[in-house]
């Protein structure tokens, strides 16, 4: 959790918003968006970019922190950027949200069966094995990823890489509708 320089109440501090953004797929767009967040003092928790069904359009998913005023300003300021086609912030309950985590843990041959059991329990995959480590991958929502990480902590975490969250609306609705 990045520390916020703003003095806010505990409740506000944890208020995370997922913002889906469709943008023109050309150079410089990401820098305009990240620059805007930095300049206006909006705190980014995670950010993920990828191309959509239309190769000229990319989707950026940003999880940002702030109160309602901040969220409204974020959306309005993003909408002013010419390269942004659509901005939509979606409530957590209406969201299908996933993040991919790669996690390398210390693991001797004796410990391997235990680790495999945890992986199976959590729906993770063993991606790589060495004499003293195992690398696992898990794609899931925030709560389950956090639980998985907690379960692996006792083994000794060597390294973690996370993609940041991507999200779609649940049901038949889409960002453009």
């Amino acid at each position: 959790m990045p520390t916020s320089p703003r003095i806010t109440t505990q409740k506000e501090y944890f208020m995370k918003h997922t913002i889906s953004i469709l943008v023109e797929n050309h150079a410089g767009v990401l820098s305009r968006i990240s620059g805007l967040f930095a300049r206006r003092g909006f705190n980014i928790h995670s950010l993920a970019v990828g191309v959509t069904e239309n190769e000229k359009v990319s989707r950026i998913t940003i999880v940002a922190e702030g109160d309602d005023y901040t969220l409204e300003q974020i959306e309005k300021q993003l909408n002013k950027l010419i390269d942004i086609i659509k901005v939509r912030s979606v409530k957590g309950s209406e969201l299908l949200s996933r993040e991919l985590m790669l996690i390398k843990v210390t693991c001797t041959a004796v410990q391997r069966p235990e680790l495999i059991a945890i992986a199976e329990l959590c729906g993770a995959k063993i991606s790589d094995v060495s004499k003293e480590t195992v690398t696992l991958e898990l794609s899931d929502n925030e709560a389950r990823i956090t639980t998985f990480e907690e379960l692996l902590k006792p083994y000794g975490i060597r390294e973690i890489a996370r993609t940041g969250f991507i999200a779609l609306q649940k049901g038949s609705g889409s960002i453009s509708s």
Binding site: V23, E24, G28, S31, R32, G35, L36, R39, E72, Q73, K76, Q77, N79, K80, L81, I82, D83, I84, I85
Partner: protein, 550 residues
């Protein structure tokens, strides 16, 4: 421009850029050349477009800003790569803060050298990121015409602002197909669809609020100068009998002597305007973003209803919560409102404002060896032609002018409102005069700000641009000095301008006539000479170094 224009033909991108400017009806541009932009200058010289050579790139931007504010259309400034482009940044930021439509063309190093830190390379699109409405680095010459078209469209529609076009020299030299007819086709940018008309339901709510308000007040902002919306604001205010105050940017939206006008609000505004905003029950913000210096006056007033009409949705609710937000083009929204606006009378409210007991009397005693600036501006008001443009610089001179200048319905007040950029007045006056040669254009500045722009005297002389300059000389950075007196225990440091030259002699060195005013009795005669001059003219008026802003 060639008559055989329907067929597309191969020309260099530099030539195409000149053609684009001609098709956008650009007749004057402001700039300063350098190696990377040379292919464009080569073609520009063969066109009918007039180029005004400034003496510093920032001033090309300020001149374009002054020009755009008078014409209401996007104005063009040009600089070369590297230091030329970075010098332009202050002017771009200044235009951005005041929402001025501007096209900034910068040269760039060869495409294959970008990112290699070659001679005079600067990542200007990166550097101006937070000061532009949008920017383009044109890497494919074939994209140039469409990009230029988009740039003009983006700069001049919605909330206006500067758009930067960065063009590598090899791109300028590349042959491309250019078709005049195709160029003029309508622009469509899927991520950019500014609102135009106000939401009908919101319009109805505005009308209802005006119907029921006892003490309504209009706050006029700089947005009113877009598409001459200020003319409709006047009809609106007169029809519903609503008093008007203005932000610094909104000065001259209503004639100063109009019975409904109560002056500028804010930290340095008129007491009566600030008291009006605290006593009204309905505040109607028109194209004003109510920044910190303006809104300082507004105390917590729970019963106050705020109508905020602005083209930029992000401004609504940013600094002040709005009870009735209306997003749209001010002119279009005012037209919608005028169709249904009730005829009202607010005699009691106006009487309350008139009998306002606060002291607003101008401190205007004559001095023996120095000039009272307020008194001087009052004499200027008496002599000023109806059609005048006053360009105030930044500092005490700006506030003295803003609070005391009297402009008719044909007059216009221009200043760097949002950014407070010193050195704006002379180049902006040059731009304004090019846009309206028939009008009297006067730059009023301090001796501090003048020394940030005095090289532009050469521009005025070289291009026969008949601007007038009044320097309020107090040998101080007066406003900072005042701040130091009030907040820093009277520790006045780095605000003494000792070593400044005799500005009348400086003017003379450029071949510009001028005079001194050291006694208020000389002011009439000096101003008559200044206004009668058919060439640039400069007045240096001596102000008491301890003269207060308010």
């Amino acid at each position: 421009m060639s008559n055989v224009s329907n067929k597309s033909k191969q020309i260099t991108a530099a030539r195409a850029l000149v053609n684009c400017l001609a098709l956008e009806k650009v007749s004057t541009v402001f700039g300063y050349p350098g190696a990377a932009i040379c292919p464009f200058y080569d073609e520009l010289s063969k066109s009918n477009i007039e180029h005004i050579l400034v003496r510093h790139e920032a001033n090309a931007g300020h001149a374009a800003s002054g020009y755009a504010r008078i014409t209401g259309k996007a104005a063009v400034c040009i600089a070369t790569s590297g230091p030329g482009a970075t010098n332009l940044i202050t002017a771009i930021a200044t235009a951005y803060m005041d929402s001025i439509p501007m096209i900034c063309i910068t040269g760039q190093v060869n495409t294959d050298q970008i990112g290699k830190d070659v001679f005079q390379e600067a990542d200007i699109t990166g550097a101006v990121e937070s000061f532009v409405k949008h920017s383009f680095l044109i890497k494919d010459a074939q994209d140039l015409p469409e990009t230029v078209r988009k740039a003009f469209y983006i700069a001049s529609t919605g909330r206006p602002g500067p758009v930067l076009l960065d063009i590598p020299i090899d791109v300028l030299r590349t042959d491309i197909d250019f078709d005049n007819v195709k160029y003029m086709e309508q622009v469509d940018i899927r991520g950019y669809k500014p609102n135009f008309h106000g939401n009908k339901l919101q319009i109805k709510r505005v009308i209802e609020a005006i119907e029921t308000a006892d003490k309504p007040l209009i706050c006029a902002g700089g947005g009113l100068f877009n598409r001459e919306a200020y003319k409709l604001m006047r009809q609106f205010a007169e029809h519903a009998d609503i008093p008007v105050i203005s932000t610094m940017m909104g000065i001259s939206a209503l004639p100063t002597e109009h019975p409904l006008y109560y002056g500028m609000i804010g930290m340095h505004g008129k007491g009566i305007a600030n008291r009006a905003i605290n006593n009204c029950d309905l505040l109607i913000l028109l194209g004003a973003r109510v920044n910190d210096r303006a809104v300082l006056a507004l105390k917590n007033n729970d019963s106050l209803k705020v109508i905020h009409i602005d083209i930029d949705p992000a401004e609504i609710g940013k600094n002040l919560p709005a009870s009735i937000p209306v997003v749209g083009d001010l002119r279009a929204v005012l037209e919608q409102l005028l169709e249904q606006l009730p005829k009202k009378k607010h005699e009691n409210w106006k009487k309350l404002l008139k009998t306002d007991t606060g002291s607003d009397t101008l401190d205007m005693p004559s001095k023996t060896d120095k000039i009272n600036p307020k008194q001087f501006i009052n004499i200027l008001n008496r002599l000023l032609p109806e059609e005048s443009v006053i360009v105030a610089d930044v500092g005490q001179n700006q506030i003295w002018t803003a609070n005391n200048i009297s402009l008719s319905e044909h007059g216009r007040f221009i200043t760097s409102g949002g950014m407070g950029t010193m050195g704006y007045s002379v180049p902006a006056a040059i731009g304004a005069k090019k846009a309206a040669p028939e009008k009297e254009v006067i730059a009023i500045c301090g001796d501090g700000s003048f020394q940030m722009q005095m090289m532009e005297l050469a521009t005025a002389i070289q291009h026969n641009i008949n601007i007038k300059i009044i320097i309020m000389k107090n040998n101080r950075l007066g406003m900072v000095r005042e701040l130091q007196q009030n907040l820093y225990n009277n520790n006045c440091t780095a605000v003494n301008l000792d070593g400044s030259p005799d500005f009348v002699k400086i003017a003379a060195a450029y071949g510009i006539n001028g005079d001194y005013v050291t006694d208020i009795k000389q002011a009439d005669k000096a101003l008559i000479t200044l206004l009668a001059s058919k060439k640039p003219y400069l007045l240096q008026i001596n102000i008491d170094e301890n003269e207060k802003t308010m």
